[in-house]
């Protein structure tokens, strides 16, 4: 902001101190310090003018105002829940926001403790004893779990089995992650929205080293036979990985009790507002895989005064120590989102989280019932319990979605005859509006 400064406003140099420093270094100007051969030096311009803070904020406000103002009934892996103001307030404290990886634990106990608390919350939610302090998102967590299977399973199996209906973002990321390994990806089908157990049993054999199941599924169906799926995996010595999210885990039976070896999923559903797909990958597993876990782990230990203290631990798994033999290449992760998620969980508490999760079931049930009352609309499409979201059968899905959009609502189009809607605390108050819009659009 300083009125007459030039160059970056974020360097504190004055003409005087710059001159002193140049003199100390023994050059006349900064350009002399650059050891760049002429042949590769850049003397062009990008043509970007410098702008004031206010201009930048104004420009971007104008840019974002070009988004249409729609009420979103969208989910399928990215969820909006109301984030309390205190989460914004506390997480944006510069001590948290502008710090980095806790290489010096003696002066970063605050963040370490918060991450330790985050890990502990995931342990409670998943029922598994080990949780790392973040993956990028649910897709990369799922893919890292497959690579974990490759490392820890003694079977000769090299097939990774996932649902046919897996969301493309997850499937494609998984394909890329396993492409450098000996693994290959195959699928099993769903039956009316959840795992087709018979088909799954047919597919699982010695060649399978990893079975991935979601609860809730991508269309919001609650998996009724999760433990059976786990048994099928266990019987074939395949690693059983369950995908879920931090809200659903507050109500649904903990995956560990269904035999899950690993739980992955989206944890940013709490703490992070709708953020155009940005997420937080949840990753928890059995104790025996501890030394094969990807990503950072915070542990409790002691300092020289005998006081409990926290530190990054088991770092020999990581790329900066073990290089090409690391458990993953991940370095920068989603720590700050994990901090926010932990804050949000703490604000809800056990009762608040259970209530929020129960509302996800009830709201979905109620919205489905309202939609199902309309002619030509089947909701939910699958005869299952649902969490937050469900598929909807209609005659001409793209046309219905377009009609809803004209009326201010965004929904998913799955195929010509199927939509999907997702309801949370954020849009539950707009339910009647959505139903009325559906009625108008489908009443043709």
């Amino acid at each position: 902001m300083s009125g007459r400064s030039e160059g970056t406003p974020f360097a504190p140099h004055t003409a005087e101190t710059t001159a002193e420093m140049l003199a100390a270094v023994g050059v006349d100007e900064e350009a002399e310090l650059f050891d760049i051969p002429d042949a590769v030096a850049f003397d062009g311009e990008f043509g970007i003018p410098a702008r004031s803070e206010r201009e930048v904020i104004g420009d971007l406000r104008d840019t974002f105002a070009r988004n249409d103002d729609l009420t979103e009934f969208l989910g399928r892996g990215h969820y909006g829940h109301y984030v309390p103001a205190l989460v914004d307030d506390l997480s944006s404290r510069s001590e948290f926001l502008t710090s980095y990886t806790q290489y010096q634990p003696e002066i970063t106990q605050g963040f370490l403790q918060a991450l330790f608390e985050y890990q502990s919350m995931l342990v409670e939610l998943t029922g598994l004893p080990v949780a790392n302090c973040s993956m990028y998102d649910a897709a990369t967590a799922l893919a890292e779990a497959a690579l974990l299977a490759d490392r820890v399973r003694s079977t000769s199996g090299e097939t990774v089995l996932v649902p046919e209906d897996l969301r493309d973002g997850k499937r494609s990321t998984l394909d890329n992650y396993v492409d450098g390994s000996s693994l290959s990806v195959a699928t099993y089908p769903y039956d009316d929205g959840v795992v087709d157990l018979d088909a799954l049993r047919d597919r699982v054999d010695d060649d399978v080293c990893y079975v991935y199941a979601e609860n809730p599924t991508v269309t919001g169906a609650i998996e009724e036979n999760l433990a059976t799926v786990g048994d099928v995996a266990a019987d074939n010595d395949a690693l059983f990985c369950v995908g879920s999210d931090v809200v659903a885990l507050g109500l649904l039976r903990e995956p560990a009790s269904a035999g899950a070896d690993v739980v992955v999923g989206e944890a940013g559903a709490l703490g992070l507002p709708t953020a155009y797909g940005m997420g937080l990958g949840l990753f928890a597993c059995r104790e025996e895989y501890l030394r094969q876990v990807p990503g950072r782990l915070v542990g409790a230990g002691e300092d020289a005064a005998g006081m409990r203290a926290y530190t990054l631990t088991l770092q020999t798994r990581e790329q900066h120590i073990r290089k090409e033999r690391a458990t993953s290449n991940i370095c920068t992760n989603q720590a700050w989102v994990a901090l926010r998620t932990a804050m949000h969980v703490a604000m809800l508490g056990a009762s608040g989280l259970a209530d929020l999760a129960e509302d996800c079931v009830r709201n979905a049930r109620d919205l489905a019932a309202d939609l199902d009352d309309l002619d030509g609309v089947t909701a939910p499409l699958h005869d299952r319990h649902h969490f937050r979201e469900f598929a909807v059968g209609v005659d001409d899905a793209p046309a219905v979605a377009a009609g809803l959009r004209e009326r201010g609502y965004a929904v998913h189009v799955l195929d010509d005859g199927t939509l999907q809607v997702c309801v949370t605390d954020l849009n539950a108050g707009e339910r009647d509006g959505l139903v009325a819009a559906f009625a108008e659009v489908t009443d043709r």
């Binding site: 030039e6 004031s52 930048v56 105002a65 155009y276 056990a350």
Partner: protein
């Protein structure tokens, strides 16, 4: 100062199944979590924050991490509610977000001298993985079966790990005695198996690879691709571009170069730029101007490698990076690299430890000689600064890799130098018993790893039962 765990304060156990509309066998029987009021949580996290170093606390010269000042105004743009949309929205209804992504693709392409950019990778290492995956797809498309990636010994650990994750054998390349790539060794290392050379420039001791054109020729002549690790791009802003040096693929660490906050470990973002030849392999979707000139659209590059993130990457980070570039402009970017490099050289001059190699760009590796660099770092904590990265890269014994960034003033650098020099003058015993003025005393990390306790469930009941 000790702050109890949340679990050591008030907690509550509930039965979520009780009263649920779901059948009992689908619900959990118990959920036990801290249950605290808003005032208590406000104090808990405020106290935790007070036990944490940050860029706004003081100098944070972690080499290779580029801990520059994170401007507050980017918080404002990242919080714009109009941008808080779902990734599955019809692109026609989120033209604002697409415009920003398109603009950032363009800014980054210009800055890196690249032809096309994907913004999807959510971190630098994810960018490396995306980039190497593109290289692999390129070779495969050419029917070219290559199995090796060459990585200099001094490279970031992520380079090795990424190459391995992508299924390549890693060929480690020694440095020459000047600290740079040994071109003869490179010539010996390349072959028809060489998929790529991954290189940081300036390298991890701050040296510009002056032979970069020759290096590029060697790699290209062998049919390999040249990959640029963007961790050190802050040194070159507006002065040299990887594309002009012969690099085919690069990633940008926007949380380093473009000042987005590091958030205690992340999120960052690792966009990847490529030459035109490789653009068709980039992850999907990409953003382009709509053919009718009416706004923007998403498209899948023809031979896309697919996806490396479930959605579109770390959006909130990308927004901040765009805002930063938009604010600085050419002039600001040029000045950022000027001051970053001046600061590194000034500090190297002031530090009394030996500093091998040179001349430096944004960082330098001092050596603590017969002292343990980690001990020196602990002692520096007592002098009120954050120490440098220690014991890496290995080419400098007991290395203290120091990157002050442009955000430090002369007086702040003088303070940093004083901390280095005071530690240099302290006794070995003083170093080994440091720190004493910090929230926690020296932490026994080896013991923590031998006896891992990773959750409050793994601890006993009482706070001192450690």
């Amino acid at each position: 100062r000790y702050e109890p765990l949340l679990s050591e304060k008030d907690g509550k156990e509930v039965d979520p199944g009780e009263g649920s509309v779901l059948p009992d066998d689908l619900t959990r029987d118990s959920l036990e979590l801290p249950e605290l009021s808003e005032p208590e949580l406000a104090r808990h996290y405020t106290r935790l924050s007070q036990m944490n170093w940050s860029v706004e606390a003081g100098p944070y010269p972690l080499g290779s991490c580029t801990m520059k000042y994170n401007p507050s105004f980017t918080d404002v743009v990242a919080a714009d509610p109009n941008a808080a949309v779902h990734p599955d929205r019809d692109p026609a209804t989120v033209q604002g977000n697409l415009e920003l992504l398109h603009g950032l693709q363009g800014y980054l392409a210009d800055i890196g001298g690249m032809d096309a950019v994907t913004l999807q990778p959510p971190a630098g290492a994810a960018g490396e993985f995306a980039g190497i995956t593109v290289a692999k797809a390129y070779h495969e498309a050419n029917g070219d079966d290559r199995s090796e990636v060459i990585v200099p010994a001094s490279a970031h650990g992520t380079n090795f790990a990424t190459a391995a994750m992508a299924g390549y054998d890693v060929v480690e390349l020694p440095s020459d005695e000047d600290g740079r790539v040994d071109v003869e060794a490179l010539e010996a290392a390349v072959s028809e198996d060489t998929a790529a050379l991954m290189l940081t420039n300036p390298n991890t001791v701050g040296l510009f690879e002056r032979d970069i054109e020759e290096i590029a020729t060697v790699v290209h002549d062998a049919g390999g691709l040249l990959y640029y690790d963007g961790a050190n791009l802050n040194a070159l802003l507006g002065r040299a571009r990887p594309g002009d040096m012969g690099f085919d693929i690069m990633h940008y660490n926007v949380h380093k170069t473009f000042a987005t906050p590091h958030g205690g470990g992340g999120p960052g973002a690792g966009p990847v730029g490529v030459t035109g030849e490789l653009a068709e392999f980039l992850p999907r979707p990409q953003v382009r101007e709509a053919p009718d000139g009416d706004g923007y659209e998403l498209f899948d590059p023809e031979r896309s490698v697919g996806k490396v993130h479930g959605f579109l990457g770390n959006w909130l980070v990308l927004v901040r990076a765009y805002a930063y570039i938009h604010r600085l402009g050419d002039q600001g970017l040029l000045d950022a690299s000027a001051k970053a490099v001046l600061n590194a050289n000034y500090l190297a001059e002031r530090v009394e430890f030996d500093v091998p190699y040179g001349p430096f760009h944004h960082e330098f590796a001092a050596t603590s000689g017969d002292r343990d660099a980690a001990d020196v770092a602990k002692r520096m904590l007592d002098y009120g600064v954050h120490p440098p990265t220690t014991k890496w890269p290995e080419m400098v014994p007991e290395a203290m890799l120091t990157e002050p960034t442009e955000a430090e003033s002369k007086s702040s650098l003088d303070d940093l130098a004083a901390a280095f020099n005071a530690a240099a003058a302290d006794s070995v015993e003083e170093l080994e018993t440091a720190p004493s003025k910090t929230t926690a005393r020296r932490i026994d990390q080896a013991d923590a790893a031998r006896n891992p306790r990773l959750s409050w469930q793994a601890l006993g009941e009482s706070p001192d039962d450690s």
